[in-house]
């Protein structure tokens, strides 16, 4: 068969596929079965044309056709709320538990410097000047001091919105960077986690030593349940990335990195959610001055329990199977 015969015999099919693709790319409803059939036929034609060294303009036309059809046939359809729900109820807590070794390391990297710096700052209020400028320290003093004009005591609604915006931008940004920096052999994530632990610990220790314990602790207790866990989780996801190419196992380094990223990014989804909750709580609840500290401690404790229980027990396999069954019945 000569190239001309080939083209004459099959060009009608190719034109038809072109037409089907044009419809499918612009409209929602199209003949998917016909698209698949034509796609398979044209794949055959392309393979033949390549094997028989047919002219390049011919193979190129077939390549373009198959590429567009391939893109249409394999595009995803399962976006939407059901998927988001499954992510929150099953996939995220599961992914967290699957990374418990990384989580342990990240938690140690966070809480050991936090406690150490806190202890040091508590014993010696001058210690904090190793970490922060005197100006920043004065600002913290003013924020958590007992005077009426202190920030966190007398904010109105629009202040709350401003702070919410700030927390979203700043804290989620830190979470993302903490994850991304993990690609450098995990060192970046470790640095971010240790740095944040040290700073938070030092500020806490300093404020408690300065006599602002109640103001400070009642302010942070609720949102820290979401925020500190999120930082540790982002660190764990970053460490997973870094470890994958230090110790790729039975994969190439690149393949290992890709696999690790695919699993770790599920944790990052959850980190985004946790940090959004943390930002809302920090802006609208932690700073509310009409709430008695005792109530805040109670709510904060409950939030800590809730978060840890969620990460520890939500979406265990049995529950997942039941959920899947329910989703199957509903759908």
């Amino acid at each position: 068969m000569t190239p001309l015969d080939f083209e004459a015999a099959y060009a009608p099919l190719w034109s038809e596929l072109e037409a089907v693709i044009a419809v499918a790319e612009t409209r929602r409803k199209f003949d998917a079965a016909r698209l698949a059939t034509l796609y398979r036929r044209v794949c055959e034609h392309l393979a033949l044309a390549q094997a028989r060294a047919y002219p390049i303009h011919l193979t190129q036309r077939l390549e373009t056709l198959t590429q567009s059809a391939h893109r249409l046939i394999y595009r995803r359809h399962d976006y939407g709320l059901a998927r988001l729900g499954r992510l929150a109820l099953v996939d995220f807590p599961e992914a967290v538990r699957a990374h418990r070794a990384y989580l342990l390391v990240a938690a140690l990297m966070f809480f050991v410097p936090l406690l150490a710096a806190g202890w040091a700052a508590y014993r010696d209020p001058g210690f904090i000047l190793h970490l922060l400028d005197a100006k920043d320290v004065q600002q913290f003093d003013a924020m958590y001091g007992s005077r009426a004009e202190s920030l966190g005591r007398t904010r109105n609604a629009s202040d709350d919105w401003q702070m919410f915006g700030y927390y979203v931008m700043h804290n989620i940004g830190i979470g993302f960077r903490c994850f991304a920096a993990g690609i450098f052999a995990g060192v970046g994530s470790a640095v971010v986690v240790v740095f944040n632990g040290t700073q938070i610990g030092a500020v806490g220790g300093y404020l408690i030593a300065a006599g602002h314990a109640e103001n400070f602790l009642s302010f942070v207790v609720t949102h820290s349940a979401f925020e500190l866990t999120a930082i540790v989780l982002a660190g764990a996801a970053g460490l997973r990335l870094g470890y994958s190419w230090i110790a790729p196992g039975r994969h190439t380094r690149l393949e290992a990195l890709r696999l690790a990223a695919r699993h770790a990014v599920v944790i990052v989804y959850g980190v985004i959610g946790l940090l959004l909750v943390a930002a809302a709580v920090e802006a609208f609840w932690s700073s509310a001055r009409w709430v008695a500290p005792a109530v805040k401690y109670g709510v904060g404790g409950a939030c800590w329990l809730l978060v840890l229980a969620y990460l520890g027990w939500q979406g265990r396999p049995r529950a997942a199977a039941a959920d899947a069954k329910k989703a199957g019945d509903a759908g």
Binding site: C43, Q60, H70, W161, Y166, A180, R258
Partner: protein, 239 residues
């Protein structure tokens, strides 16, 4: 050594998709266009919310966050699989299997911008893109994605008309491909270069009797290889 950067991805149907990874310049320009768009949106929002006081500042900060982190993710998950800047440059993001990009991959590659950015202004990303044949930055490596040119280039056109002529000896498959490829480039090459290349194939041509140029005679051979025969527009004569 291969000179082109063509990337082939095999599909389940057993065919190879050829993808053309976009290099540093195209992607850099796309980034700058996106940067301009993002700055424009940011200023527009800042003017609108400027009258809203501190609540406006909050909205502005949230929109800054969305523009910095979510803008590329959202656009890469649309059907065009490209941010506006990439679309202007004719680029799209695909998985390195040739499939459309998944949400997880789009998020991963854009979060890892933070890693590509170090030490300053995408230093790590630029080194990685220049280093690799497929121009992947660190985010692409981790997410398994590729930025490719979306439209195919056509370097070859139809073979110009000519009186079909048989070659003096049977041509191998490679030789046939070479002759037809040469003929397909008739409109892109200068006539001198076209003739010069034709003279390489002179040994397979019949001795000239009609006074036609070498190119004209080789075009005839190309038509003959395609299956056209002298006389009527007879097809299917076999070879």
């Amino acid at each position: 050594m291969r000179l082109d950067t063509l990337y082939t991805a095999e599909t389940p149907e057993g065919i190879a998709l050829s993808l053309r990874p976009a290099g540093l310049v195209a992607r850099g320009l796309a980034y700058l266009i996106d940067l301009a768009i993002r700055l424009g949106i940011f200023f527009a929002i800042s003017i609108v919310v400027g009258v809203m006081g501190k609540m406006g500042v909050g909205i502005l900060l949230i929109s800054y966050f969305c523009l910095e982190w979510l803008y590329p993710v959202v656009f890469e998950l649309t059907r065009a699989a490209a941010t506006p800047g990439k679309r202007v440059m004719g680029l799209r993001v695909v998985m390195d299997s040739g499939l459309p990009v998944t949400p997880a991959a789009a998020l991963t590659r854009n979060l890892l911008r933070a890693a590509d950015f170090v030490p300053a202004f995408y230093g790590a990303g630029i080194v990685s893109m220049l280093w690799r044949r497929d121009s992947k930055r660190l985010g692409d490596l981790a997410a398994g994605t590729l930025v490719v040119f979306s439209d195919p280039v056509s370097l070859h056109g139809d073979v110009p008309a000519a009186e079909p002529r048989a070659p003096v000896r049977p041509l191998s498959a490679r030789e046939q491909l070479a002759v037809v490829s040469w003929a397909g480039r008739a409109t892109r090459l200068t006539p001198e270069r076209f003739d010069e290349l034709a003279r390489v194939a002179e040994p397979v041509l019949e001795p000239d009797t009609s006074g036609a140029s070498v190119s004209q005679r080789l075009l005839g051979v190309a038509q003959w290889v395609l299956g056209r025969r002298a006389g009527a527009d007879a097809r299917g004569g076999g070879r």
